[in-house]
Amino acid sequence: MQPPLLQLSNVTKSFGAVRALKGVSFTLHQGEVHALLGENGAGKSTLIKLIAGAHERDGGRIEIAGNPIGHLTPRQARAHGIACIYQQPTLFPDLTVAENIALGLETPSIGRRVHWKKRRQHAEMLLKRVGAMIDPESEVRSLSMPEQQLVEIAKALGAGARILIMDEPTASLTQSEVALLLNVVRDLRGQGVGIIYISHRLEEIFAMADRVTVLRDGESVGTHAVTAITQAALIRMMVGREVSAIYPPSENEPGAPVVSLANLTCGASGIFEVNLEIREGEVVGLAGLVGAGRTELARVLFGITPADSGTISLSGKFVEVRSPRSAVEQGIAYVPEDRRRHGVILEMPIAANMTMAIHPVFFPGAWLRLDAERRLALEYIRELGIKAAGPEAPGGSLSGGNQQKVALARWLATNPKLLILDEPTQGVDIGAKAEIHKIIRHLAKNGLAVLMISSDLPEILGMSDRIAVMRGGRIAAMLGGGASADEVMSAALGHEKEAA
């Protein structure tokens, strides 16, 4: 029997103190679609970056078609026939589509001539194969996110790869684009290409994959043939426990409406006519696929991209939110998704991070009251159970879960009426996750209105009193707290559930 196309044995990778991969083994055969599943932060991205040569592994073996590979750079990975489509497109914003595709394909040798016409034709052909209506001469910075994703896919297609890695390629695509893409993937499989396919959409995995490997906390939980496993079993493997048992139950009756949105629209960020009401003490889950407009809605509410039309009213009063500053003044708090870039300033002490949103209130006359700040920080550290060396420890020295708690503390300090949480437990370890859930529940019990965005379906189902499902920038459905995973998924996907 010929050796597998790709074999990873016991590979490890750490970033500082964080062990992202704790010895993962993985095989990929020719003509196979091998799905990689796992919650956010389980180590999927790290694993594929090792294979693509973007990160260097700390230990373990990688064999390609039976040959052990030592040091792997992006260039060598490409020479071995490995192509990778990252979740975040790695394109050059200032260059044209044609050139982006070409730079991904041509071997970077210095003296070679650039054939612009050939580049253009090649790009046109590849774009047609993925069904994208994009002018190869347009600059990438002028493209939308899904368009950029399609360019990435075209690039990987053109590479004639033997091993193709796709990291959530369909996350931001429309239905027809997804269908087209899946056909392309089947084609490639037929040609003997080995495909590593990462997706959160279980139905895609069942429709297309041959085998599936589940990662959890940097370890492989198991590999199964898709035909030999059920959705429920997969979810259990991913989460590592029974879903229903771990979420603290909702204890209180929601009170009067705190926030109501009427026909809220922001054309530039693709939000249309959103109507939503959140009541006192209520956790409303905001579900939907990546690109459905959930984060965009949060950004509109928080004044980062102000709305064009429609109204926001808080406690029965119409308010105008033109900037984050005014959102804070109105009592809206937003714990953003990208914790490291937006949520916490990593270089600054956690005490300074916690008071950042309350400068005018906490420091009258702009004068720092360092002792008071320290006391406040210590209080939150105790209350939220933050593990840190002290209030002076820089945000970056904390683990993901503790950083998230610092971000949360910053917004609790503003004493908000509405708390928007964007993927509150993404990249957070299981223990901290449960604690954050407990905190959210506690806050709701004290009368806060919570809007919780999450891609983690069990989290949405377990935490929400009601669930708003977004699709294409609109609220597609409002479901009760007892909704099933299937109901939410079908609303998010926009088609009736197929007879299973």
């Binding site: 973007a54 050059f92 002028s142």
Partner: protein, 310 residues
Amino acid sequence: MRIRYFREWSVVAVLVLLLGALAIMAPAFFDGQPMLSRLAREAPTLVAACGIALVIICRQIDISIGSQFALCGVCAGLLAAAKLPMAVVCVGSIAAGTSLGAINGALVAGLGLPSIVVTLATMVIWREGLRWYREGQFINLPDQFQWFGLSQSAGQYTLLWIAALLLIILALAMKHLAVGRFFYAVGSDAEAARLAGIRPRLTTFTAFVLLGAFTGLAAMMNVVQSPQVDPKSGTGLELKAIAAAVVGGVAISGGRGNLWGLFAGLLLLITINPALTYLHVEPYWEKAIQGAIILLAVIADGVRSRRQPH
């Protein structure tokens, strides 16, 4: 629909308007010999500006080229005064520039230091070191050295040819050779470039080394224009070069712009001062107008990018 090379064409349009105004109001501006002298005087600036465009496209900056220029000039002068052949002097000047560029490049690309501060430091070090060494003394050149030993106008034409050739070769290479595109790729997104198998550090280093070599050549082209070498030459060269690049549409944020735009930008900047004289505007306004043009150019960019949702 966005017009391609909008920025470059608008600079050309302004230049044409200015030249048109001169043609009507002061046709003497286009007289042969003064025009030739003017152009020859600015030929070294063009060469140095081509180099700085490479560095800016890589999302770096170099403000030490004025000092490099002076140092290379003195180097060339000393070699020439020692009665060495023209070719050796030329190679010496370029070699001096290359090594200076390599120092900047090593500090920026090798150690990952911010280019603005590194070149600020080297600018001061070279300039002051040169002052200390020369104490402001000029170097007298041998008789046969000026204008390469040719007649004045032949020498001036030679300089124009060198600058034009370099511009054309470089502009074509930046567009049509794979290596030219590396600079754009690295300046546009260094991490994406790394993933595409391009080596960002090496590319950045190369840009600084090429800039150094061009500065050395520019210094040589400046030295042959006079019977003496002024150790203070090149003051403000970095600003002129950067201004030409910015006006010509080379984005300071890297990855965008081309050498034709830079050429148009430089022509516009160097036309202003003589044009002022011919149009009977006081020439003291040159620097202020230069500043205003830089600001207008970036304001135009800012307004355009604000209007375009991305």
